[in-house]
Symmetry: none
Subunit: 324 residues, 2 copies
DNA sequence: ACAACTCTGTCAATGTTTTGTAAAGGTTTA
DNA sequence: TAAACCTTTACAAAACATTGACAGAGTTGT
């Protein structure tokens, strides 16, 4: 039925070598000796690789430089390899091979993935979207994945939703996929037990959770212990979550600007319920629409990716002081 | 301490030596003389060790430097060695035959986990809840996890929510945790490319997604290719999702009984939009409350865990026929 | 007490396997 | 036509395996 599933990505061996960090000769040797990858061929016999192959080779390279013998791990699945490296006591992040992609290369790569992911969203292909995400996380690393792929992707989805190219259901599907990815991202950097805690949600009437998800992931990567509550919760419930977890920060995402006063009312109630000792952070496409209330209530308004990280670090530091 | 995937990792002797602190020569001597470890071999004869072997050698090394004679302790089990080092009297464990837990044991085990998980929900401890879930999946297997842990847990959460012991926010937190687990569950059994497709969601006004999540997971485990859309979607959006994915089934969860006519209206509209070729399945705590409409529209009403699986299999079979 | 024996870690000698790299010579691609 | 690929074959360093031996420490038997 769907024979056209994987013809999207095709790379020749030199590209693969650059991106994975494994020399061409070695890639061929690994294929010949252990079937580490099994690329398709062009009519003329040239090897044609997929994104998955690249992710594979990257992980294999990491694993071998970590002391594993290539013959033993060559046929492991992507997940096996990820587990293997996750359980490593020594996560060597040294310049393992001469080939280190430059910053501009990585950004270009991220843009590349962005297009592919957006195409998958447009085609409503959850499986393909997830697969692209997985590969991108391996290739870009969690940080760059968030900053250069996820953030711009969500921004674009927001735009296209306005123009009518996308429907609400596209956003729901994307949320769902990203939500299941949090598992991988979280596993990549387990947080400390004494990490500061945060609640992430959206107030009542705000049904879009992509922004909130992004905030949750970013906070986790910054070392926070995040409890994500999903979208559309009344102030009392959110406040209850804050109390239960003893969170020292609460982040809300406002994506959709409404003219009624629900959001304003909810924000005021929330502030009353959580008090002044819990930082209230608000971000999202439409946060500026509520500027007046934000100022009145006294919230930290996220301006950009970097700004959010800055806020997180400041709060984190302050929290550590209080603890000691 | 998460993943326990020990059957995947394999090391050669030098790595083992570095990790365990026992020189390669000595490792071989201990094997030759006392069978302290019994590694497998490569085709060429190289020793191949597991994580367990490394742990063993570490403990043996500690014990010998503590004055114990290697010949005496070489064949101790991992637990024996741990006891030994804790200065506890060595309780020699029984011959370790591969005892497979009986069915009743497993159900008991599941109940045990149920209590632990519910306690974590009540305490609003997402981290602990996730950890219990992870362990349960490994110990029980996906099937039993769903049937004997997740299903009763969600049922109980529904009950306690009514009595006021739990707040809505508890349910949101639980949904969030379960949602990120879908990643593990899905990876445990990757579905075929030609698997029948299904959309899972809840209609507008139905904000509780636990039931829908459960249905999605069950369908995935039954070999379906599921696109999960989250909760609270209007009929047009759900129908769009069905069209986009060419799904042959649509499952909705109705947890909350409302007296307005929104649900009834949405169901009628949905049926019109998706036509008769797409199976419409409805389940959830409050499905019976809408019996009249369900009959009128002609939906498959889920009665129980087993019943849902039966429906899934029938649809799956019918779908296969049509394909061929 | 003293010789004989066992336990244990270490080494050396010698041969094999693994694995990254490279050269030679032909083919495909742009 | 040049650059990039392909296959085959080869090579050498590093890592392993096996066998056998040796010496210090502790034990045993007489």
């Amino acid at each position: 039925m769907t024979g056209f599933n994987d013809d999207s990505a095709q790379y020749l061996i030199s590209t693969v070598s650059k991106r994975s960090g494994v020399k061409s000769d070695l890639v061929r040797a690994w294929e010949r000796r252990y079937q580490a990858v099994t690329p398709k061929r062009t009519a003329g016999g040239h090897r044609v690789y997929t994104d998955q192959d690249i992710a594979r080779l990257k992980l294999l390279n990491l694993a071998t430089s970590n002391g594993h013998s290539i013959s033993q791990i060559a046929q492991f699945s992507l997940d096996d390899l990820k587990n293997l490296l996750n359980n490593e006591p020594v996560a060597i992040t040294q310049p393992l091979n001469g080939i280190t992609p430059s910053a501009s290369d990585r950004i270009h790569l991220a843009e590349d993935y962005m297009e592919k992911c957006y195409a998958a969203v447009l085609a409503f292909d959850a499986k393909k979207l997830e697969s692209h995400f997985e590969n991108a996380i391996v290739e870009l690393g969690s940080e760059a994945f968030i900053e250069h792929l996820l953030t711009p992707l969500l921004t674009r989805i927001g735009e296209r939703w306005k123009t009518g190219e996308l429907r609400p259901v596209h956003e729901h599907m994307t949320s769902s996929v990203i939500r299941s990815l949090t598992y991988i991202l979280r596993n990549n950097n387990p947080c400390a037990a004494n990490a500061p805690r945060m609640i992430v949600s959206t107030p009542i009437g705000q049904l879009h959770e992509l922004g909130a998800l992004l905030a949750a992931i970013m906070a986790e990567l910054s070392g926070w212990q995040v409890t994500y509550l999903g979208a559309n919760l009344p102030a009392e419930e959110i406040a209850a979550g804050v109390k239960f977890t003893h969170a020292c920060a609460l982040t809300l995402s406002l994506s959709f600007a409404t003219d009624d006063h629900v959001v304003a009312k909810e924000l005021r109630r929330l502030k009353k319920l959580i008090g002044n000792n819990v930082a209230l952070i608000v971000g999202g496409r439409s946060a500026s629409h509520y500027q007046a209330v934000l100022n009145e209530v006294g919230v930290l308004n996220i301006q950009s990716y970097g700004h959010f990280r800055q806020i997180l670090n400041q709060l984190s530091a302050r929290n550590m002081e209080q603890e000691s």
